[in-house]
């Protein structure tokens, strides 16, 4: 355990930025200043997140504030996702929000609060990922709701208010269950440890999980799964998700889908780790698997029939979260690694797609796929980006979602869920069909004559371009640091702390030193 200031910096950076933004007047020069502070804030988060991740990759376990904050490999994955996706969607926001301001969809005051809450939202999410104190975790997740509720209702339209209301109510209700789970876990631990202070730390819980009362651990996990699963978007608690995702401004949708869901998932994963240690893997795996499968089975057909682009993407998010849950549910090092990898990959791809939906909105002023036609003709670059985004989310190579989908599938087969995996694969074929429909119907084809030609600005396209590059790079090869992080995180989750498993997400008997990092270096090894 290494004490470090990085967690505190990354935490309070955006918080301060948020406060600063909210203090700056929104008229005239203020808007530029706000944008500047916003840019600095998201850049700082990104840089710090990557710095933390690189420390963790090097084997450090960062802690701060009396161990209340800690970043292990598991947390580092999510912190970096927040950093990267937050930065890119934040950049995208600059252009998107200016466009909305020009169009009169937003007024300067709303813009100001948008940026303020954006940083605040980042702050809450970072808090959720680096919290080691389980109650703080809960607080952070609850805070994310509150931070983003305004963002969801930002436009102030009837539908966006409705969405925001549903978002707040359902998530607070759901997350309230999470508090019960948290309290049960804490009570359980403090009984066992006799030390109230350290029993509240996740690291302690995880270390002494085997001593916990199994029944309480089970109950606690059920509550946690329901509570944070609501936030993570697992069916049937996911009802808020399509509304919130579709009504929020596109960069926020990207953030919600790409990052927020994953933060809640992180909490679930942390409890999953405890429960696996406390009661063995069968029970937590079973219920996670049930919810995951349900999510896929329900979301895929719903995804298929949507006519609203962003709503469609929202259902796709539910489906992918379901797949992550399935990965956790089938368990084993491979399953967990696959789930973690899929969380990363889905974040990048979905952020790309939601930004793309922003472009569609900027060009066509509608999300109705029946009225969006010929994006490729009107805005070629956006068209290409959206095309690739669709293909990526459909799970086609060389994009990253394919890789992790494949891993989940393999893990499922390994765990003996052949038929379940086939079922999931078939339902993911529906996803492919849906994305193909999007491309066929809206990206390709002939645009209506009234649609003005010309792409959205470079400032909006550049972040998407970066996202696309990331999606392809992580699809072609899993970069070494990611692999390392996922491997370590898997070991943390499964609790199988022998070095072999640490190094080997694939659970073969190779020694860790043998882990050759991915990359098209030619190993001079010849067979046959």
């Amino acid at each position: 355990m290494v004490f470090s200031n990085l967690p505190l910096l990354i935490l309070f950076g955006p918080l301060l930025a948020a406060l600063a933004i909210l203090l700056v007047p929104s008229r005239g020069f203020g808007l530029r200043l706000i944008e500047l502070i916003h840019t600095v804030s998201i850049a700082a988060v990104a840089v710090l997140a990557l710095a933390i991740a690189s420390d963790v990759v090097d084997g450090a376990h960062l802690t701060a504030f009396d161990d209340w904050f800690a970043v292990d490999a598991l947390g580092a994955i999510f912190v970096s996702v927040i950093g990267v996706v937050g930065f890119l969607t934040g950049l995208y926001s600059l252009s998107y929000i200016r466009h909305e301001l020009r169009d009169g969809e937003l007024d300067p005051a709303k813009v100001k609060s948008y940026y303020g809450f954006f940083s605040l939202f980042l702050f809450t999410m970072v808090l959720a990922t680096i919290a080691n104190n389980i109650v703080l975790m809960w607080v952070a997740i609850e805070a994310t709701t509150l931070g983003s509720a305004f963002l969801v209702g930002c436009y102030g339209r009837k539908s966006s208010l409705e969405a925001a209301w549903k978002y707040v109510i359902i998530c607070t209700v759901g997350v309230a269950f999470g508090l019960y789970g948290t309290v049960l876990a804490y009570a359980n631990a403090s009984d066992v440890l006799g030390n109230a202070d350290s029993a509240i730390l996740w690291t302690t819980l995880a270390a002494h999980a085997t001593a916990l009362d199994p029944m309480l651990a089970k109950l606690s996990f059920v509550f946690v799964l329901i509570g944070f699963g609501t936030k993570a978007g697992l069916f049937p608690m996911s009802a808020w998700l399509p509304d919130a995702h579709s009504e929020a401004p596109s960069p926020v949708s990207a953030l919600l889908s790409g990052v927020l869901l994953k933060c809640a998932l992180l909490v679930v994963i942390r409890y999953y780790a405890i429960t696996v240690r406390a009661v063995g893997p069968e029970f937590p795996q079973m219920i996670v698997l049930i919810l995951g499968t349900l999510s896929i089975l329900v979301a895929a057909p719903l995804f298929f029939v949507q006519k609203d682009l962003k709503r469609k993407l929202a259902y796709s998010s539910i489906e992918h979260v379901g797949l992550i849950a399935v990965g956790l549910g089938v368990g084993g090092p491979l399953g967990v690694a696959a789930a973690l990898l899929h969380a990363i990959n889905h974040s990048l791809a979905k952020a790309l797609m939601f930004c793309g939906s922003g472009n569609v909105l900027m060009k066509f002023h509608t999300r109705d796929l029946d009225r969006v036609k010929g994006l490729m003709r009107v805005a070629p670059v956006s068209g290409v980006l959206l095309l690739f985004g669709c293909l990526a989310l459909a799970g086609l190579p060389p994009f990253n979602v394919f890789v992790s989908e494949f891993m989940v599938f393999t893990a499922g087969m390994k765990a003996g869920y052949l038929w379940l995996m086939l079922l999931c694969a078939l339902f993911f074929t529906i996803t492919v069909a849906g994305f193909i429909q999007i491309v066929a119907g809206s990206v390709l084809g002939k645009a209506a004559d009234a649609t003005p030609e010309g792409d959205v600005g470079v400032a909006a396209l550049a972040p998407m371009g970066i996202l696309l590059v990331l999606v392809i790079v992580t699809g072609v090869t899993i970069p070494g640091p990611i692999l390392r992080l996922v491997g370590d995180a898997t070991a943390i989750v499964t609790g199988d702390s022998t070095p072999v498993a640490f190094a080997m997400p694939w659970a073969t008997q190779a020694a860790p030193a043998e882990v050759a990092l991915a990359g098209p270096q030619l190993h001079t090894e010849t067979k046959r």
Binding site: P397, F406, T410, T508, Q509, E514, L522, E525
Partner: protein, 488 residues
């Protein structure tokens, strides 16, 4: 084990055949639209040069097969290259035809085209290049994951290329192609996962280490995927509809490369699997026969030349499946015949499709009833038509005969111990006669005599297309020799 310099050179070149086209596609994406068709040809040519380098290196190294890992995690091979006689042979076909199609496309996608007057867009050329790269990746893959990876890329590219004209009907066909092949790819997923579970690696060579039961399941899963890509009953529905694609694409994807993915992965699996339980052979052969009969039946009502060719492709692929399945019973000859048939059919059917494309380019139609007297109006096109049809029908000296002969020869050899195969072979022989008769009928109808109105008003054929047609005609004459002497 250390490898010689030339070996690693060969591997690098093999890798280049995958990477170059992808790079070219990326470049096209960035370059101005007018340059795309030249870039496409240049990169395709560079890929041809690389594969020729691979051939040279491979021969120089004594034609010993070699496998090299590209990505591995621990002992798990994720991606690797296999350079052996099989992969090099098929890669040559795929890449050379890819180049020819690129050249042909540059002439075809112009305003002069009577059927679809439009200048080719960068997207077309970029996806074409990606497709070449993906095919060569698939062919050289030493792991099932690699195959799956490229399998899906080919599916995505084919979707983009089939849907090139962007009409709703075309897009529906494209989606159908993608979805059906995607469903088929589930077989590959299963195979990969099962292989990994039993052996801890994705290397195809590891199939040999499986127990008989797992081997059967893995290979049958692969077979299922193969059926999808190779458009075998009951997963064939996408191919006839995919004929809405620009004709060079039909030629390349639906004759030479993508549909060959299926048979290739099956061949690769069988080659690596060692002794395979007979049940695989029975399943493969039975479905091949079913497809043969069905495909032939569907020749009969076709009037659209490309649809006819699509069904012909389906049945020709069935021959390959038949040959591969027969090899399960111990016939090395049938295996070689099947592989040679992949090679031969690629050239012959590409030629045929490009003839169809040339006809629609010059006359504006590809409906067989309105095409008469081709040879009178345009001898080259007429001859190419005849050569292609005879090659497909399996008439010597054109290439189709030679590989079919080997398949049947091997088949009769193994039918002696497995008498049930005999009726299958008889059916296949009857189908080959029927196929022959049907193509002969159309030769007689379309080629000689007085040109019909459409043909009489045809415009001359651009030079680029002529060159490609001649090159392919030469190939239909010599490809079987190449294949046979290569496979040895």
């Amino acid at each position: 084990m250390m490898t010689s310099v030339s070996d690693s050179m060969t591997m690098t070149l093999a890798l280049a055949t995958i990477v170059l086209p992808f790079g070219g596609a990326a470049l096209i994406a960035c370059a101005p639209g007018k340059a795309s068709k030249w870039l496409c040809q240049i990169f395709a040519l560079a890929t041809v040069a690389s594969i020729l380098g691979v051939v040279a290196g491979f021969v120089e190294a004594g034609r010993a097969g070699a496998t090299q890992d590209l990505i591995r995690i621990g002992r798990t091979e994720i991606l690797g290259l296999t350079v052996d006689a099989l992969s090099v042979l098929i890669a040559v076909a795929v890449i050379v035809i890819g180049f020819l199609v690129a050249v042909y496309s540059a002439s075809y996608l112009t305003m002069g085209n009577r059927e679809h007057p439009a200048v080719g867009r960068p997207r077309y050329y970029a996806f074409l290049l990606v497709f070449i790269g993906a095919m060569s990746g698939l062919v050289f893959s030493s792991t099932i994951t690699g195959q799956l990876f490229f399998f899906e890329i080919t599916g995505g590219c084919s979707w983009a290329l089939i849907g090139y004209y962007e009409t709703p009907k075309v897009l529906r066909s494209a989606a159908k192609a993608l979805l059906i092949t995607h469903v088929a790819s589930i077989g590959l997923y299963v195979a990969a996962a099962l292989l990994f579970l039993d052996t801890g690696t994705f290397a195809i060579a590891a199939i040999a280490d499986l127990s008989d039961g797992s081997k059967v399941v893995v290979i049958l899963s692969l077979l299922f995927a193969a059926w999808g890509k190779s458009a075998q009953v009951p997963l064939h529905m996408w191919l006839p509809d995919a004929m809405e694609a620009p004709t060079p694409i039909s030629a390349y994807l639906h004759a030479a490369s993508m549909v060959k993915v299926g048979v290739y992965i099956f061949a690769r699996a069988l080659l690596s699997a060692g002794a395979v339980p007979h049940v695989v052979g029975w399943v493969g052969a039975t479905m091949a026969i079913v497809t043969l009969v069905y495909g032939f039946l569907l020749y009969l009502p076709q009037v659209d030349m490309k649809r006819l060719l699509a069904y012909s492709t389906i049945t020709q692929l069935s021959y390959i499946f038949l040959g591969l399945s027969l090899s399960v019973f111990g016939s090395h000859l049938a295996f070689q015949g099947a592989v040679a048939h992949i090679f031969n059919h690629a050239f012959a059917k590409t030629l045929f499709f490009l003839v169809a494309g040339a006809l629609s380019y010059t006359t504006g139609t590809r409906m067989l009833p309105s095409l008469r007297g081709i040879v009178t109006k345009n001898p080259l096109l007429g001859i190419a038509f005849v050569v292609a049809a005879l090659a497909i029908a399996g008439v010597p000296p054109f290439n189709g005969f030679f590989s079919k002969f080997a398949i049947f020869s091997g088949g009769f050899a193994v039918a002696q111990e497995n008498l049930l195969l005999l009726p299958m072979l008889v059916i296949a022989l009857l189908e080959s006669i029927g196929c022959f008769a049907w193509f002969l009928k159309w030769i007689g109808y379309s080629i000689p005599g007085k040109p019909s109105d459409a043909v009489a008003s045809a415009q001359p054929l651009p030079m680029g297309m002529q060159v490609v047609l001649v090159a392919l005609m030469v190939a239909t004459l010599c490809s079987s020799f190449i294949a046979a002497s290569w496979l040895g």
